[in-house]
């Protein structure tokens, strides 16, 4: 039996299993912390989106809550000047590399970026940073879905679905730095790759990068849907 500890998040005392990551403890107790790449089941968090910063008393700088196991007596603030500044910059950086034509996007009104923007009151437009211009060809080769890389935020959830759930291995990360992409072997269109078009990846995509071509079909999972989330819907 695992021991439980008490932590204070935004002045609320919360009991949870020791060692549990702060992000999930907060979310499960209805306290929102922005996040894109976190997957609860992963033992080693990806920690790549850099949106889930919080302040912990006694720690000299904001830390990512997805990587931080809770400890007895931990006092956490999900908002502070420093946290808000980092989250805003990270979010704006992500936007600068994201196709912001929301009205044309199938995930419009069902997009994590929109939810975060609303919650943190950050405008969904290119502001401090100029958009990074590049050409991505739309991959609409699969029968029922398509992949628009101009909307991809590199959270890696589709790759996990492909590997851990579908057990295929059709997609993965390739290249480096600013050119990092989710792609197939040799950059083949999905339909020409070993992809079985099971569409598990489509359901986990938190934005409109992987989407169903027929607009009446909705993603199974609502990216904002987790216990206690009051801002969803």
């Amino acid at each position: 039996m695992s021991t439980s500890v008490t932590v204070t998040i935004d002045d609320r005392q919360i009991k949870a299993r020791a060692g549990e990551k702060l992000l999930w403890v907060a979310l499960e107790n209805g306290i929102y912390i922005p996040h894109l790449c976190a997957i609860k089941e992963e033992s080693r968090p990806n920690a790549s989106c850099r949106l889930c910063f919080v302040e912990i008393e006694g720690v000299d700088r904001p830390v990512t809550s997805c990587t931080r196991p809770i400890e007895e007596g931990m006092v956490v603030k999900t908002r502070s000047l420093r946290v808000d500044r980092l989250v805003k910059t990270a979010f704006e950086l992500i936007l600068s590399d994201h196709n912001l034509k929301c009205r044309e996007c199938p995930a419009n009104r069902n997009c994590v970026l929109q939810a975060i923007a609303k919650e943190r009151r950050i405008k969904l437009r290119y502001d401090r940073f100029k958009p990074i211009v590049r050409e991505f060809a739309l991959d609409d080769s699969p029968a029922e879905f398509a992949f628009d890389r101009s909307r991809c935020v590199l959270c890696g959830k589709c790759i996990r679905a492909d590997r851990e759930e579908a057990k295929i291995g059709a997609i993965g990360f390739a290249r480096r730095g600013i050119n990092r992409v989710v792609t197939t072997f040799k950059d083949l269109p999905l339909a020409e790759s070993i992809c079985t078009e099971c569409m598990l990846c489509v359901d986990v995509c938190p934005v409109g990068a992987l989407y169903y071509k027929k607009s009446q079909r909705q993603k199974k999972g609502n990216p904002l849907d987790y216990p206690g989330n009051k801002s969803s819907g």
Binding site: G172, F173, R176, I194
Partner: protein, 178 residues
């Protein structure tokens, strides 16, 4: 890129050979790719697919790895490879000018191979010969204190070597010991 039939066979034989001498662990992936490239000169798609099969890793992962690391090339290199060092010391004394001079003379950009496959041009982060800056590595030979004029000289020598159609006979950098 279309492969000729014998090229295909050569690649398959090479991969089979390299796979035989390794443990088929995922840990051997990078050493295997290095060996293949050392033999074939680049990583053909066919080789990557076969390696993925042999090691039981997704081909997408082999591709991801090959496109991540600087060392790996997915296309055949030119007959003559020029690497221009852009380490700090070289940059400070005109490394970019050297790179541009090669680009001008080879009529290709950095990272490309000329259409006739005679030349390929790369930039490298540092070859550790900072005291000879600016440095270019021409077919494994380190050239120090390179100027645009020296670039012309190097290109002239390479062109001449090509014209004589002589087989590659560069002095080996690591020649025998005394």
């Amino acid at each position: 890129m279309q492969l000729l039939k014998d090229e295909k066979e050569q690649i398959l034989a090479c991969v089979a050979e390299v796979l035989k001498s390794n443990s088929k662990n995922r840990e051997d992936l990078i050493p295997i790719l290095q060996k293949i490239q050392a033999i074939i000169g680049y990583l053909p798609e066919l080789a990557m697919a076969k390696i993925a099969e042999g090691l039981h890793v997704p081909a997408a992962d082999v591709y991801g790895l090959a496109t991540f690391y600087n060392q790996f090339r997915l296309n055949p290199p030119g007959k003559h490879q020029v690497k221009v060092c852009l380490g700090t010391a070289c940059y400070m004394v005109g490394g970019t000018i050297v790179l541009e001079s090669f680009e001008r003379r080879m009529e290709i950009r950095e990272g490309e191979t000329s259409p006739d496959r005679l030349y390929s041009l790369e930039r490298v982060a540092c070859v550790g010969c900072c005291t000879m800056a600016p440095v270019a590595v021409v077919d494994e030979v380190v050239e120090g204190k390179v100027t645009p004029t020296r670039v012309d000289g190097i290109m002239l020598a390479l062109n001449e070597a090509n014209n004589q159609n002589a087989e590659k006979q560069k002095p080996e950098q690591d020649g025998g010991k005394a």
